[in-house]
């Protein structure tokens, strides 16, 4: 679906030596794949995202979507790209317009991309989408402020799914959320991927979270991909020293699991 080849991006400061944000980055997101991108601050994650969203123009290299060069898209082709690749941001409060009702936030993409003609058809679709992400469709006329952090992230996901994208790009979608809510959103993303056949590009600093969702993982450090491996290989035999450091920094989870006699009740009762 998305092929990033040999992407380079430098930023020039005030007469100083340029900062190399991306240095020969290549990655592929195939149809239905879940690809994870791990990196600390300064790794180039955000620059890569901004290039993907065409907010930044790469110096060299290309991004292809469905066989076309994203940098050269215009007109209908660009509209198709903007529909096909949707984003979920880290901070749901910052990415939802506080003045708009949740219904109109979710319907906006439908209107722009003409996915549903007529307000009645759109309202019906908004109801479906809210239900899909686990929200009450009757709350469509409420504003983002009336929802909790996790519910807001559900709204952001519903908005992204509204235009039936092929790829969902998630930038640290759970790092602003409380632990108990994180699990809800991670499970929701996993369900959406399997029921809708979405591709997922998931950006996070938390290796355990990336491991939970992604089969294919890239480790980014100072603008370079230092390791690309399957989930199994990366966690069983990390090849790069930096990956090993990241793994070593994870808190030891030994004994973290409650022993069996305290096993939780049947899943359906806990799942939201």
């Amino acid at each position: 679906m998305i092929t990033v080849s040999h992407l380079h991006k430098r930023f020039r400061g005030h007469g100083r030596t340029p900062v190399i944000a991306l240095d020969d980055v290549s990655l592929t997101v195939g149809r239905g794949d879940a690809v994870g991108l791990v990196g600390e601050s300064g790794s180039g994650k955000s620059t890569l995202l901004r290039c993907l969203m065409r907010l930044e123009r790469p110096d060299e290299g290309s991004i292809e979507y469905a066989g076309q060069d994203v940098a050269r898209l215009h007109g209908r082709g660009l509209v198709a790209y903007r529909r096909g690749v949707q984003m979920v941001f880290q901070d749901p409060m910052g990415s939802l317009n506080p003045m708009m009702s949740v219904g109109s936030i979710v319907a906006e993409g439908l209107r722009i991309h003409n996915r549903r003609r007529g307000s009645r058809a759109r309202t019906a679709r908004v109801g479906e989408l809210l239900e899909l992400v686990g929200l009450n469709p009757d709350h469509a006329d409420r504003h983002p402020a009336a929802f909790s952090g996790g519910q807001r992230q559900r709204i952001a996901i519903a908005r992204a799914l509204a235009v039936e994208p092929d790829v969902l790009v998630c930038d640290e979608p759970v790092s602003a959320l409380d632990v108990s809510v994180q699990a809800q959103i991670l499970n929701l993303l996993q369900d959406m991927r399997s029921t809708l056949g979405l591709s997922l590009l998931f950006i996070a600093h938390d290796l355990a979270v990336v491991r939970y969702l992604c089969e294919d993982i890239y480790v980014l450090k100072q603008g370079r991909v230092v390791e690309h491996a399957s989930r199994e290989d990366l966690f069983r035999a990390p090849a790069h020293e930096y990956t090993r450091q990241l793994l070593a920094a994870l808190p030891s989870h030994a004994g973290l699991r409650p022993v069996n006699q305290y096993a939780l009740p049947p899943q359906q009762k806990l799942e939201s």
Binding site: E40, D178, S180, H205, L207, A249, L250, H253, L264, E271
Partner: protein, 324 residues
């Protein structure tokens, strides 16, 4: 070991302009012995940060009830002037975001020495102690870096500076409110290990506030779990991880992705209640899969479990059979 800090029946409430009172922290009690490291674990809105800040008398607009005794001295209702003597020299505090805790216009040296200078220590002696403290915290070439400004430091180094400010007056208790949340994973691990080493070396007691159950064991020996303004469970770190008794604690631990387990995460439905709409019975009952009529009517008090932990649940699995 002697009791360093004793918090008894602490209630924190906020009073709105129209006189409406909202209870944010509801009858919380705990104690910390000298040299002991305790984690206060909870999600946002649980009251963990408010409780920690109350120990230093921050948030003066809040109404405090109950008692906070530090080395036998009552801190609730203490005048600001006397509280200032306790802050720093008795209880030090480290905040989450090192950039906003530091003054961008002052050199690192001036900021680290400020607490000593305020206490009347000579400039020369204060500078020397600041250098030693920074070195203890792994800031290399401290002598020259004390002339630098915060923006010249990385996030991890800034947090070491903030810790140095908190430790330079040699407090007996350090309150660390999410001290590593803003840091990268590798740096977070370094800073927590460093804090543990220093606490061991100095016999320093630490109250470690965190939402991240994964890092609890890096620093603390004992855990207090807070939910919706109340303590729902307390016990050793081992009991917390191996035999969590409260349904909330178990839900919290099951909601964390693990490296050695591929099964689906069990997520608790719903979200914590807003302070104004907390149930009168067990605060967790609206989200609890085991909740019964009794839970909704009657708030359980903390009581001992077989694992020598304390839990506030009518149906703690150690005490009784969980109803089907």
């Amino acid at each position: 070991m002697s009791e360093l800090l004793e918090v008894r029946d602490l209630c924190i409430s906020v009073v709105a302009n129209d006189g409406a009172r909202t209870l944010l922290v509801d009858t919380v009690s705990f104690s910390i012995d000298a040299g002991e490291r305790v984690a206060l674990v909870g999600e946002s809105g649980s009251g963990k940060s408010l409780t920690a800040r109350a120990l230093l008398g921050l948030d003066r607009q809040m109404e405090l009830d109950g008692s906070i005794r530090f080395k036998g001295t009552e801190l609730v209702g203490m005048p600001e002037r006397e509280l200032r003597k306790i802050r720093g020299s008795g209880i030090g505090m480290v905040f989450q975001d090192p950039l906003s805790a530091l003054n961008p216009l002052m050199t690192i040296g001036d900021q680290v020495t400020a607490p000593l200078r305020a206490a009347g220590v000579s400039r020369h002696a204060a500078w020397e102690r600041a250098r030693r403290t920074l070195e203890e915290l792994g800031v290399g070439d401290a002598e020259s870096r004390m002339h630098a400004y915060p923006h010249q430091f990385s996030g991890g180094m800034r947090q070491r500076v903030v810790i140095a400010i908190a430790l330079i007056s040699e407090p007996e208790l350090l309150v660390a409110d999410e001290p590593t949340t803003a840091l990268d994973v590798r740096v977070q691990a370094q800073v927590l290990r460093l804090l543990a080493e220093i606490a061991d070396a100095r016999g320093l007691a630490v109250l470690f506030i965190t939402h991240d159950v994964g890092v609890v064991g890096e620093l603390a020996r004992r855990v207090e779990v807070m939910y919706a303004g109340t303590t729902v469970e307390r016990g050793s770190v081992e009991a917390f991880f191996r035999s969590p008794a409260h349904p909330y604690t178990r839900g919290l631990l099951s909601a964390v992705p693990r490296l050695d387990d591929d099964s689906r995460l069990l997520s608790m439905a719903g979200a914590p209640p807003a302070p104004a709409s907390r149930p009168s019975g067990c605060v967790f009952s609206p989200r609890c899969p085991y909740a019964t009529e009794r839970c909704r009517d009657d708030r359980p008090a903390l009581h001992l479990t077989a694992a020598r932990a304390e839990v506030a649940c009518h149906y703690s699995p150690v005490e009784a059979e969980v109803p089907a």
